[in-house]
């Protein structure tokens, strides 16, 4: 019985679902149908099983859950009739995929159907196998498919060939089993078999090097012959697509030829003539013709073609590029990207046209063109290209500005001939698209500005002017506020004037106005506001006349709902009010930011976080735990905050890992430590802890999310007894020795590793409450006369030991033993007492930029660890 002839209930169900006026009505109908189907399923009703499954498929397409139908598919597949099997396989492909375990149950039915006497049933099984087979099924059923490849029926043969593709994709090891069969398929006449065979060859080449070699020898001739016949063939109505005989097959043949000819001069030579013939003969006024031309060009680019042929190919692309059809222009742009590698001069000739495509209204074309343009930029054309792009930035779509500005920034960074130009271009981008650029971009800009000593005045004035017109661009505002904080005095006195500039008149109060505006602007976020506060603090020292006004502004923020801002304003207020004698040194202009470190850092972790709220989540090693009360725990953050009670990490202040936070605050590391004792006391007063040794960490605490107010410290101390120890440490001035807590060694230290150039010592300590764990402090000493950079220590332990390796104190190891790196390891020996500790070491570092690697094994651990 046919469940789909008119009057049956599938049709009725679709009708009643379509008649529903609201979603609720539809759900009700579906619910009723599903209930009926479930009932039929539980009664094991076999008469209407395939009708029910067909309904379920429709319901599935509407997006309702239909998992209860999965077993019904399997039952239908196992039944004997073709109509039942057909619906069963259809349901199988629709409702299940290769990852479901139910699928394993169908392997046996598939095997039987692949061996069936009815060719239509074999066809159904092959189709299902080709669409959803998993790796296990591929292994189990490959012999059947191999046998069916030899079938005489072209319908079965082509399906078997496509199934083989799926099998080879799932299990590339099986590629060799299909090689000979694939070559034989190319001798067929039937186009369906040919196209499947050619595609199988392509996949075999991708899956196995051996298959590629074999096919190179055996099927070049065949594929060239087929393509030649096709391209010379007279009108063939069955395969004709707007005047071209079977473009699909031609394209697949060209693709196979590309793979076979790639990197192989002999095969390429064999194809040259035919490729030339195809690319000149095809008419390019129809899509089907262009599709072949496009594939042909790609093949010419991909093989070892003659130079004449390559010129021909690039000319075709040039023609494509000036085509009126957007599709053709799109593929031309796509292909020109590949052509750059072959002949970049030829592509450069089309630069003007490509630039026009960047401005196209179609996002797909714009995106391609922008990619292409960024590949075409070089030192000679960068200025003119950037001018064009930045001009376009002003008028481009909102949703394109992000892509465009980030491309412009990366190009400007890569090719900028001088810093002045770089800063100019970046300011233009920021004023146009400051809301779209990523944080790294403006961070990078600040680093560059800070390093351009002679441009400070120029930059701050340019930013002042830009701010007047584009105060809604967040990142422009941030950079402007930062620069005004640092170089505000140069804005007022026109310091560091360049020849090209015209002096501007800005008063001190104008400057404060600007920062005040940034602080209070409705669109400013916490980061901007925090930066504005810092700038104000700095200005209060630079412009004593405005000090009172700044104090007022800062005071207003005391009531901010944002904890960060509230805290900052209270702290800054206290500095402005009570500590005149140290204020100027505290807010001195910051030293140059280390460009090299910044770049390194940026490449190492694409996430560099900057001041404000985000600093409490500073990502240094990625693992940052932010506790609800605002205490941030940064396991390896170089920014060590002694007030950060929850952080029991040792301070790892080293010049190379300075957090930019210090720098941005501009207090510099060296300031407090050089200050006179009297100042120290005041500073300590500020912190109300009264311990000189903590002063070197003061700058960091000033901006961390930690409160520096004593009552907070105390409150928190009481909250958590485990923290109290650190407060004691603090007061005892232990901050000078990072890991002093573990100094009480129970076990003798050992020399774990020694070579001519490097010595590693291990010191041990155990915590009584956790006997399995041992804390190892590794101390590295460089015995050679050259400093080591990029020092990296790694350790491996047997399975019964757990190892936790914390970051080293530094990654530069000075020469001749004048400095050391320490690194803390925690090992947990689960077989304590049964097996001793053992460890393998691997130390990588660079000497004069040359990579070095040392390895060793430690087996002399003291007993009992």
């Amino acid at each position: 019985m046919n469940p789909f002839s008119s009057g049956t209930r599938l049709r009725d169900m679709i009708r009643s679902i379509r008649a529903c006026k609201t979603a609720a009505e539809e759900r009700a109908v579906v619910r009723k149908e599903c209930a009926a189907i479930r009932a039929a399923v539980s009664e094991n009703d076999s008469d209407y099983r395939h009708r029910n499954l067909a309904k379920l498929m429709f319901i599935h397409m509407l997006g309702y859950p239909t998992h209860f139908g999965q077993m019904e598919c399997l039952k239908l597949i196992a039944s004997s009739g073709f109509p039942e099997k057909r619906i069963g396989y259809l349901g199988l492909m629709l409702l299940l995929d290769e990852r479901q375990e139910v699928l394993m149950l169908v392997t046996n039915s598939l095997k039987q159907d692949l061996n069936h006497s009815n060719q239509y049933i074999i066809g159904l099984a092959l189709c299902a196998l080709g669409n959803i087979c998993s790796a296990e099924m591929a292994r189990d059923l490959a012999p059947e498919v191999e046998r069916l490849l030899l079938s005489r029926d072209p319908n079965i043969k082509k399906k078997a060939a496509l199934c083989s593709i799926r099998i080879v994709r799932k299990v590339p090891d099986m590629a060799e089993n299909f090689m000979t069969a694939a070559v034989n398929l190319l001798k067929e006449k039937h186009h369906g078999v040919l196209i499947a065979g050619v595609q199988l060859c392509v996949d075999l080449c991708k899956a196995s090097e051996e298959a590629l070699e074999y096919l190179r020898k055996t099927c070049i001739e065949g594929s060239v012959r087929i393509l030649r016949d096709l391209s010379n063939s007279p009108y063939a109505p069955e395969y004709d697509v707007s005047g071209i005989t079977d473009p699909f097959l031609q394209i697949r043949l060209l693709r196979l030829m590309r793979i076979l000819g790639h990197g192989d001069a002999d095969s390429s030579e064999y194809m040259n003539d035919l490729l030339a013939q195809v690319s000149t003969k095809i008419e390019s006024n129809k899509n089907s013709g262009n599709a072949i031309l496009y594939e042909c060009v790609e093949t010419i680019m991909g093989i070892e073609a003659t130079s004449g042929l390559r010129v021909l190919a690039i000319n075709i692309l040039g023609r494509f590029l000036s085509n009126r059809d957007n599709n053709i222009r799109y593929v031309a742009l796509n292909m020109l990207m590949k052509a750059i590698a072959v002949d970049s001069q030829a592509v450069q000739r089309h630069r003007a046209t490509i630039l026009e495509c960047v401005k196209d209204s179609d996002a797909s074309i714009r995106k391609r063109a922008l990619e292409l343009i960024s590949l075409l930029v070089n030192d000679t054309n960068v200025k003119s290209l950037m001018n064009e792009l930045i001009e376009y930035l002003e008028v481009s779509d909102q949703d394109f500005k992000g892509d465009l500005s980030s491309k412009i920034c990366s190009i400007v960074e890569r090719f900028s001939p001088d810093k002045l130009w770089y800063i100019d271009q970046m300011l233009k981008v920021l004023s146009e698209a400051g809301n779209y650029i990523k944080d790294e971009v403006w961070h990078g800009l600040i680093v560059v500005i800070s390093n351009a000593l002679d441009l400070h005045g120029y930059t701050v004035r340019a930013l002042y002017k830009a701010f007047q017109t584009s105060s809604e661009q967040e990142s422009l505002v941030r950079v402007a506020v930062w620069c005004i904080g640092e170089y505000g005095d140069m804005l007022v006195n026109n310091g560091g004037m360049l020849n090209v500039e015209e002096p501007i008149i800005v008063t001190e109060s104008d400057t404060v106005d600007i920062v005040d505006a940034a602080l209070k602007h409705h669109s400013s976020d916490t980061t901007t506001q925090a930066m504005s506060l810092i700038a104000l603090l700095k200005l209060s020292s630079r412009f004593p006349s405005c000090s009172e006004r700044i104090k007022e502004i800062v005071n207003q923020q005391k009531g901010s709902f944002v904890l960060e801002l509230q805290q900052r304003s209270i702290e800054f207020n206290s500095i402005i009010q009570r500590h005149h004698n140290i204020k100027s040194s505290l807010v001195e202009r910051m030293p140059m930011l280390d460009e090299a470190t910044y770049i390194e850092k940026r490449t190492a972790s694409s996430q560099v976080t900057f001041p404000g709220k985000k600093t409490s989540h500073a990502t240094h090693s990625g693992a940052t735990l932010s506790l609800p009360n605002g205490i941030s725990k940064t396991p390896s953050a170089p920014l060590v905050d002694l007030l950060d009670l929850s952080s029991d990490d040792a301070p790892q202040m080293s010049s190379s890992t300075n957090n930019f936070l210090h720098d941005l605050l501009g207090v510099g590391l060296d300031v407090p430590s050089t200050s006179a004792p009297a100042n120290t006391d005041i500073l300590m007063d500020l912190l109300s802890i009264g311990e000189p040794s903590i002063q070197k960490n003061l700058p960091s605490s000033t901006l961390s999310s930690q409160s520096i107010l004593p009552n907070h410290v105390k409150a928190r101390t009481q909250e958590s007894t485990s923290n109290s120890m650190h407060v004691v440490d603090l007061l005892d001035g232990l901050s000078s020795s990072p890991i002093s807590v573990e100094k009480n060694h129970d076990y003798p230290s050992i020399t774990a590793f020694q070579s001519n150039s490097l010595k590693i010592e291990f010191g041990f300590s155990k915590q009584p409450e956790n006997p399995q764990s041992t804390v190892i402090i590794a101390t590295f000493t460089n015995l050679s006369s050259d400093a080591y950079t990029d020092f990296l220590f790694q350790a491996a332990v047997p399975k019964f030991i757990q190892l936790n390796l914390e970051p080293g104190s530094n990654n530069i190891l000075p020469s001749n033993g004048i400095g050391t790196i320490t690194q803390r390891l925690t090992v947990k020996n689960s077989q304590l007492g049964l097996k001793p500790l053992a460890m393998r070491l691997r130390i990588a570092y660079k000497v004069n930029n040359e990579d070095k690697l040392e390895q060793g094994q430690v087996s002399n651990f003291p007993p009992g660890l």
């Binding site: 995929d97 189709c127 080709g130 196209i195 262009n290 599709a291 222009r329 209204s361 179609d362």
Partner: protein, 142 residues
């Protein structure tokens, strides 16, 4: 290779969805929604190609129906455009002047045609005549 084929109307109702790579059920709905949003508002003069995640969607609109194929980024866009057209011609021939309702009520047949046209994400048959004949034979088996 073709990763999936979608047939959607302008309202975003999916009339046919064929996946050649596995997706979670929820992911399928998301993909269908996203693809519809990508293609539905594009100007007819624009390219028929849109980048979608790490792949690209080749789509073509016939009256109120969007035929979309998601293919590998290195695949020949123009060829798949032609491929969509061939599929539509086959449907048109089979249902003699196909309309959306044919596809709704005979969705199982549409799947059957597709399975004769594309298998394992690759083209199986390029002759309209061969597929129509094959469909006739299969109908006789019912």
């Amino acid at each position: 290779m073709i990763r999936f084929i979608l047939l959607q109307n302008r309202q975003g109702k999916t009339r046919l969805a064929k996946y050649y790579v596995p997706f979670e059920e929820s992911e399928k709905h998301k993909v269908e929604y996203e693809v519809h949003r990508l293609v539905v508002n594009r100007d007819p003069k624009f390219t028929n190609f849109v980048e979608f995640r790490t792949h690209k969607v080749i789509y073509r609109r016939y009256a109120g129906l969007f035929f979309s194929m998601c293919v590998d980024i290195t695949d020949n866009e123009l060829a798949y455009l032609e491929c969509i057209h061939l599929f539509v011609e086959i449907l048109d021939h089979f249902f003699s002047n196909v309309c959306e309702l044919d596809l709704v009520f005979n969705f199982h047949k549409v799947y059957l045609i597709l399975d004769e046209f594309i298998l394992a994400g690759e083209l199986q048959e390029t002759s309209k005549k061969a597929i129509i004949e094959r469909m006739g034979e299969l109908e006789k088996q019912e």
